[in-house]
C-alpha cells in the first residue's frame, strides 16, 4: 500500500486527533515553530497540510497560503475549515507550480511522512525563489531511534534501532478515547541535510525545543521531553545559483 493511502485511511482519526484542543503536541510546540517562520511576503506554500491547522495559523499571521496534501479527505476537511483558502490536491514529489513561485515554503511534520523525502525537498526548493526560506519541523532523528523505558521522569532513553537506518514507522497511539497511527519514516539527520544540500538549501537556524513548564506541571511524565528533544526545527535558505550545484562544482 502506498503511503498516501495510509494517511487517507487514517484521515478521520487524524482530524479528530488534531482538532481536539490540547490533544496533540502541536499546541505545545507550534509557537516555537512560528518563531522561525519569516514575516509574510507575497506567497507561502505549505507541503502536507493535512486537515489544515498550520495553514490556518499561517493565515492568521498574515501569510497568503497555498497548501497541498495528497489525501482527498484531509484536503476536504482543510477546505471546509477555511473556505477562502487555497487547498490543492497534489503529491509533494510533483508540485503543480512553476519554478520560483513562492517566498516561503513550510513543511510541518510532513517530510518524514512522504515516501520520497529528498524528492519533496527538491520540489519545495524548486518552487522557492532564490533567497527564499524553507521552514521544517520533523520528529527529532535521535528521539526516533529509541524510546524511554517508562513514563517516569528519570526513565532512561534506550536506543532501539540503528540510528543510520531509514526505517518505516507505524506507531499506534491512544489517548482520551482517540486513537491514531502515525505512518512515516525515521531518518538520520545526515539524510535530511543531504537532501537540503542537494536542493541548494543551507541551514540558517536550527532549534531543539524543550517541553514547556506548564505542560510538565499538568503531566509530570512530560519532564522526559525536557531532557530530550521531541522535534527538530529548521529554517533553510535557498542559495543563489543552480540548485543541486553540489560540493565540487561550487569550488
Amino acid at each position: 500500500m502506498s503511503f498516501n493511502a495510509d494517511w487517507e485511511r487514517e484521515a478521520q482519526n487524524w482530524i479528530a486527533w488534531a482538532r481536539t484542543p490540547g490533544h496533540d503536541a502541536y499546541s505545545e510546540y507550534a509557537d516555537r515553530f512560528f518563531e522561525l517562520v519569516p514575516a509574510p511576503a507575497r506567497a507561502t506554500l505549505e507541503i502536507g497540510c493535512g486537515e489544515g491547522r498550520v495553514s490556518r495559523d499561517l493565515g492568521d499571521r498574515g501569510h497568503r497560503v497555498t497548501a497541498i496534501d495528497a489525501s482527498p479527505t484531509l484536503l476536504e476537511a482543510a477546505r471546509a475549515a477555511d473556505p477562502a483558502g487555497q487547498y490543492v490536491l497534489a503529491n509533494a514529489g510533483a508540485l503543480p507550480f512553476s519554478d520560483e513561485t513562492f517566498d516561503l515554503v513550510v513543511a510541518h511534520n510532513s517530510l518524514m511522512d512522504v515516501q520520497d523525502m529528498p524528492g519533496a525537498v527538491r520540489e519545495g526548493a524548486r518552487v522557492l525563489r532564490p533567497e527564499g526560506r524553507f521552514c521544517v519541523s520533523v520528529v527529532h532523528p535521535m528521539s526516533d531511534a529509541g524510546r524511554f523505558e517508562s513514563r517516569e521522569a528519570d526513565a532512561p532513553f534506550a536506543v532501539r534501532w540503528p540510528y543510520f537506518e531509514r526505517r518505516r514507522v507505524e506507531e499506534p497511539f491512544e489517548r482520551d478515547g482517540l486513537s491514531i497511527t502515525f505512518h512515516g519514516w525515521a531518518y538520520p539527520l545526515e539524510d535530511y541535510v543531504r537532501a537540503f544540500e542537494d536542493a541548494g538549501l543551507a541551514i540558517e537556524a536550527l532549534r531543539e525545543p524543550r517541553q514547556r513548564e506548564h505542560v510538565v506541571a499538568a503531566d509530570p511524565s512530560e519532564v522526559r521531553w525536557q531532557r530530550l528533544p521531541m522535534f527538530l526545527l529548521l529554517r533553510l535558505r535557498k542559495l543563489p545559483g543552480p540548485a543541486g550545484a553540489g560540493f565540487s562544482s561550487r569550488f
Binding site: 535521535m142 532512561p156 540503528p162 543510520f164 544540500e197 541551514i203 540558517e204 525536557q226 535558505r237 542559495l239
Partner: protein
Amino acid sequence: MSLRAFWDEQAEAWSRFARTPGHDAYHESFNFPAFLELVPPAGRATLDVGCGEGRVGAELQRRGHRVVGVDSSPRLVELASECHEAHVADAAALPFADESFDLAVAYMSIMNFDDPEAAVRESSRVLEPGGRFCAAVVHPMDGAGRWTAREPDAEFVIEGSYYEQEAKLWVSEREGIEVTFCDRGLPLERLARCFEDAGLLIEALREPQPSDGFVLRFPISARRRRVPMFLHLRALKP
C-alpha cells in the same frame, strides 16, 4: 580547571598519542578521512583553530593548503610549528585582521573550547565572504549518553539530559601512552546557534560511520553504526 589549562597540562602526552603511527586509529582511519571529504580544495590561506600538535594542518599542507594554526597551549604550538606556521592565541580573540582567510577548520576542537560561541564568531570574522568553515565535533547524541557495556552489541542509553551534557573524563592507556580525554558534547542547537550568530550558513553535514575494514580491525566499532560518534559540518560565510 578550564579546558584550556587541562589541555596545556597534557601537551606532551597528547603529542605522543597523536604522533605515534597507528596509535589513534579512530582519527587516522575513520574520523579524519571522512572530515577531509568536506574540506574544500586549497585556496588563499587556511586557518586551523585549535591546531594541537599540528597533524591536521600537516595533512592539509600536503594537499596544498597554506596553513596557519592557533592553539592556546605554548608547547603544542611549538610542536605544530615543526609542520606549519602556528601561533599561541585564544580562539575567542584571534590575532588576525578581518577576512584574512578563505578557509577555517576546527577539527575536534570546538567542544574543547571554554567559549565555543566566541571561537566560531572569531573564525567567521577572519573569513572572507564566500569562505568556508569546516568543523568536526563529538556527536551530540554520543555526548548525551553512554554504553552499558564494552561490547559491540552493547546498549546505548541516555540517562541524564541531552541539553545539559556533562563532560566525560576518560583515560586512554595503551602502548605506554596515557592521555585523559575530557569529552563534552554540545547539543546540536547550541552548535547551530554558534554558526547562526556568527553569520554562517550550514551547507553540509555528515555523520560518518566506520568502514567495513575498520570494523574488522576494531570489532567494537561496529556499535558506531548504531549510534553516531562524530559530527562534521561545513558552513558558508555568505
